[in-house]
């Protein structure tokens, strides 16, 4: 059955995400193709991974031919922040349709919409959730298709485009600061990065820094908690 009213409400709620996801998806497609990845791999990633920060990072990981274990650890760590989103949705998702997909589609933005936007009482929530999840992913995939095709057909000087990855993480770090209002985690992150930077080959820097950061967190636990 097709639930038109639920789709309409979901579409209206998803409009702000449409802007963000199609543009950022486009940028991802463009970056992936310009770094040598085939367009269909970029699109595949947006379909089966569907995580902005991780996919941008993946462009670097893949072009550096990073090992599978390192890729696995880095992927878990980058997305650790979303591993508790579900907590506040356990109740809402109890009667969900295609629950495994809904959980898969739980990006930062979808989570924000699901937990903050109030909808009219008389719509079928389970369809509304499903449509919202699918619409948001369709913007992301649509943007990626456009970006990767544009990138493989139009040729221009993309030198420096990979800075978008740096810029993305800078922005995410600022957003983290706004939430947590503490300096210690950032200083710790900077220190372990520099240690990783100078002590091990650059391919190992990420995983080594993550390991050091986890150790550092427990050494500085009191300080971080009380700041």
């Amino acid at each position: 059955m097709f639930h038109k009213r639920e789709l309409k409400v979901a579409f209206k709620v998803s409009i702000p995400v449409m802007m963000g996801y199609s543009v950022l998806g486009f940028a991802f497609g463009l970056l992936a193709v310009s770094s040598g990845l085939k367009w269909y791999f970029a699109i595949l990633m947006s379909i089966v991974i569907y995580a902005g920060a991780l996919q941008f990072l993946a462009v670097s990981l893949l072009s550096a031919k990073t090992g599978f274990v390192d890729i696995f650890i880095a992927s878990l760590m980058v997305n650790l922040r979303q591993s508790f989103y579900g907590l506040s949705l356990l109740q809402k998702f109890k009667k969900a349709i295609l629950k495994p997909y809904l959980i898969f589609a739980l990006t930062d933005e979808t989570y924000a919409l699901l937990t903050t936007v109030k909808t009219e009482k008389n719509i079928k929530k389970k369809w509304y959730y499903l449509y919202l999840g699918m619409l948001n992913q369709s913007y992301w995939v649509g943007g990626t298709i456009a970006g990767s095709i544009f990138g493989s057909s139009v040729h221009f000087n993309t030198k420096g485009l990979d800075f978008s990855l740096t810029a993305l993480f800078v922005v995410l770090a600022i957003e983290q600061y706004k939430q947590i209002k503490k300096f210690t985690p950032f200083i710790l992150g900077g220190v372990v990065s520099i240690i990783g930077f100078v002590t091990v080959p650059k391919n190992d820097m990420l995983v080594v820094s993550i390991g050091l950061a986890l150790i550092g967190m427990f050494i500085l636990k009191k300080r971080i908690e009380n700041e």
Binding site: V78, S83, A167, L206, S209
Partner: protein
């Protein structure tokens, strides 16, 4: 292993890792609250990993030869200022990137 196989496997691993992070609470915390230590890591690790990732994206920059990573540092400052001023992540990311592209292509 061919390039093709490497990419397919790597993408599969990333999608599994990503799904694990999203499905985690639905598997383990349906009945009880997560332990304090996990909440501590969950709350405080994201800012650490974001700062590590900023550095990670700069691993190809050589800070010991001219211009000593100055282009990257200036572009990061531009990105930060844009984000603090307009608070619009698209504008910050694209503004910072276009600024950097101009720096490396024109100078």
């Amino acid at each position: 292993m061919s390039d093709y196989e490497y990419l397919l496997l790597a993408i599969l691993i990333m999608s599994i890792a990503n799904y694990i992070t999203r499905v985690f609470p639905f598997l383990f915390f349906i009945k009880h609250e997560p332990p304090k230590i996990i909440l501590f890591v969950e709350r405080n690790f994201p800012p650490i990993i974001m700062s590590i990732l900023v550095f990670y994206t700069l691993t190809n920059v050589n800070f010991s030869v001219k211009p000593y990573g100055l282009k990257e540092i200036i572009s990061i400052i531009v990105t930060i200022l844009l984000h603090l001023k307009f608070n619009n992540y698209l504008m910050s990311i694209f503004g910072g990137t276009i600024f950097y592209m101009m720096l490396v292509q024109l100078i």
